[in-house]
């Protein structure tokens, strides 16, 4: 055992290299110099943005609109690389351990537990957010203070907002349930027509978090941070709820859709009555894409619907940090947020504070036609509840497997 440890330590020492002092200084200056100079440094370089690549319309928006504007405004070549957050975190962890000072990722699309893990492992550069003029101008500091209950401290720049919605086909269901209790009754009355993606799928995990709030008496109690006793007391209520409906689920609950794409497919084929998404405009996108019937609409539960902000962050070894900052700033600009809001582009909700815009700008946002399937902020805002701290998220995902799947 001891021998093994010594060998391991020797191995690490052999490969550890001291960090470069000079490079560190110019990087730190990026956190002080005016944005004008940052943009000047970034000119005529490449920026590599690593992001989830599974949405064709989002890819198209980045490749055409964002890339075009970055070229035009800053003479920056944007390269979009499709990579899931889990993979790039692993990559960065290895690079950090191996002491690689210059990586190949400039900007990440990240949030939640991935951000927490990355920040705790020292994988991120910052705090850079307050250096970006558009953040100072348009973003409510309160709205970007926490990401899944974890303090952001300027290591991420917000660029979009999402909220959990359910989807139904008006041709098949006339009155969808309004509350979690109503949903429970509906599931029992219509066996085989409801299911949810298996956590840790992003959407399935969000679904059980929302239920967790609803069946344990609201979200407020969890927001002050991880409390194992509280979790141990409250979680059984959720497991009981989920196990009680299991026999009435699709395939009698013996199996669950492995991800939200699978649920989308089941829903689009009419095999289940409800779809769900963490993106209010998802149904509208699917209608425009031709995958969903035109009669699909979305709804939210009165018990609350969780929302989150998604962010961009810069890795510690980004080769072009100045360029990454310019891109992060552009993404939260009025123009990019407005373009992104259009459902034929993406339909992602703005992360900027509409109150900080002048009346003309605000009107531009308000006059965007979200399409018939997307709920307006007048319906979404009153039921919006914040995300749970990510320790609960991980405990819920783990607990679901143990108490619901394997039960």
């Amino acid at each position: 055992m001891l021998k093994k440890h010594i060998a391991l330590i020797a191995f690490w020492i052999l490969f550890m290299l001291p960090g470069p002092a000079a490079a560190k200084n110019t990087e730190d200056s990026l956190l002080q110099i005016p944005f004008q100079q940052i943009a000047e440094q970034a000119r005529n370089h490449q920026v590599r943005w690593y992001m989830f690549g599974g949405w064709a319309h989002v890819n198209a928006w980045v490749d055409t609109y964002v890339a075009g504007e970055m070229k035009k405004r800053y003479d920056i070549d944007l390269v979009r690389v499709p990579m899931d957050a889990g993979i790039f975190i692993n990559k960065l962890l290895n690079e950090k351990a191996a002491g690689k000072k210059t990586g190949n990722i400039d900007l990440l699309w990240i949030n939640g537990e991935n951000f927490k893990n990355a920040k705790e492992a020292g994988l991120l550069f910052g705090p850079f957010a307050q250096q970006l003029p558009n953040i100072r101008k348009y973003v409510d500091p309160e709205s970007m203070a926490h990401d899944f209950g974890y303090p952001v401290e300027g290591y991420e720049a917000p660029y979009g907002r999402a909220q959990f919605v359910f989807e139904y086909d008006t041709a098949a269901v006339s009155a969808p349930p309004q509350t979690i209790t109503g949903l429970n009754e509906w599931i029992r009355a219509n066996p085989g027509s409801f299911t949810y993606p298996q956590p840790p799928d992003f959407t399935g995990s969000a679904f059980i978090r929302q239920l967790f709030y609803a069946v344990t008496g609201g979200h407020e109690q969890y927001l002050s941070g991880w409390d194992p006793d509280l979790f141990a007391r409250k979680a059984p209520l959720l497991w009981n709820w989920l196990n009680a409906i299991e026999p009435f689920l699709w395939q009698k609950g013996q199996t669950y859709p492995k991800d939200s794409a699978f649920l989308d497919t089941l829903f689009s084929r009419g095999e289940v009555a409800f779809g769900m998404s963490y993106h209010p405009s998802h149904a509208q996108n699917k209608i425009l894409e031709g995958s969903y019937p035109k009669s699909v609409r979305t709804f939210v539960m009165k018990d609350g619907s969780i929302y989150n902000t998604h962010f961009t962050a810069i890795p510690f070894n980004a080769p072009n940090k100045a360029g990454a900052m310019v891109l992060a700033d552009f993404l939260i600009s009025m123009d990019a947020q407005l373009s992104k809001y259009h459902p034929d582009k993406w339909g992602d909700f703005p992360a900027l504070d509409l109150k900080r815009l002048n009346p003309k700008e605000r009107k531009q946002f308000q006059s965007v036609d979200l399409g018939p399937a997307t709920l307006g902020s007048d319906t979404l805002n009153p039921v919006a509840v914040p995300e749970i701290p990510s320790d609960y998220l991980e405990a819920l995902e783990q607990g679901w497997k143990e108490h619901v799947l394997d039960n």
Binding site: G54, A56, N94, D264, G290, P293
Partner: protein, 261 residues
């Protein structure tokens, strides 16, 4: 009659799914109980046209690293395979088993550790790194095939050539390699397909700097955009077929020139 039945089964198994794929690629909203899609849409094709440069680049990059992997595995395996086919020594069976292990062990198990080493040796995020890691777990297919090739060939050609005064290099290049071609192609095809279909390793070691077709395809397969996923799957399907046709044509011509068929 017997052949007709076989043929029918083959068509049902292989051609019918392709027809369904082709239909889905044009009709993402095709749903039960419609036997024929109610609506067609060319949105998928439009995306394809918009991103043609990116998709072609990734296809090209995938082909390039897959071909280089085939070459690397050939270089790695040629001499060891000759030894294994020709001589007997103690521990041969054990060593052979060990050499085949990388094909049986999931690459994930050693990929993370290797990634660390590759970063150290500046191989991460490079084409060379991707080729090496792919060769490292796909060489057993080439190795098995070459051993079989050497065994089929026997020792006689080599003896003949030696008696006629040929040196080691010229025996290898002018006598053995041409005779081994069928084995190289059999092994190489498998290696090519394994390398071409690999997603995670290329991503981890290539780090997004080395484009791959699977890297473009997988995120879209994991989304519910069925039309686009179907189109890209069809492309994925066509590529090996095209490759085999090309190899076949080249080979037949080469053999014909030499009067071997």
């Amino acid at each position: 009659m017997k052949h007709a039945a076989t043929f029918l089964v083959l068509i049902l198994l292989f051609a019918l799914p392709v027809v369904v794929l082709a239909l889905v690629s044009l009709a993402p909203g095709w749903r039960f109980p419609d036997v024929w899609p109610a609506d067609f849409s060319i949105k998928g094709l439009i995306y394809l046209a918009q991103h043609q440069r990116q998709i072609l680049m990734s296809l090209g990059s995938s082909c390039l690293f897959s071909l280089l992997t085939v070459l690397t595995t050939l270089l790695m395996c040629l001499l060891p395979a000759a030894v294994f086919a020709r001589s007997n020594f103690s521990g041969k069976a054990l060593l052979e088993g060990l050499l085949l292990a990388p094909a049986l062990v999931p690459p994930m198990t050693f990929a993370m550790g290797l990634h660390f080493l590759f970063i150290k040796f500046s191989l991460a995020d490079t084409l060379a790194g991707v080729v090496l890691i792919l060769a490292m777990f796909s060489y057993p297919y080439m190795f098995r095939s070459l051993v079989a090739g050497f065994q089929t060939m026997g020792k006689d050609y080599r003896l003949c050539a030696e008696n006629l005064g040929a040196g080691t290099m010229s025996i290898l290049l002018q006598v053995e390699l041409p005779l081994l071609m069928p084995a190289v192609i059999a092994g190489g095809s498998v290696v090519f397909l394994v390398a071409f279909s690999e997603y995670f390793l290329v991503f981890l070691i290539g780090g997004g700097s080395v484009d791959s077709f699977t890297g473009t395809l997988f995120p879209l397969l994991n989304s519910s955009n069925r039309s686009l996923a179907a189109i890209l799957t069809l492309i994925f399907l066509c590529l090996p077929i095209v490759l085999f046709l090309v190899i076949d044509t080249i080979l037949v011509q080469a053999y014909r020139k030499k009067g071997m068929i």
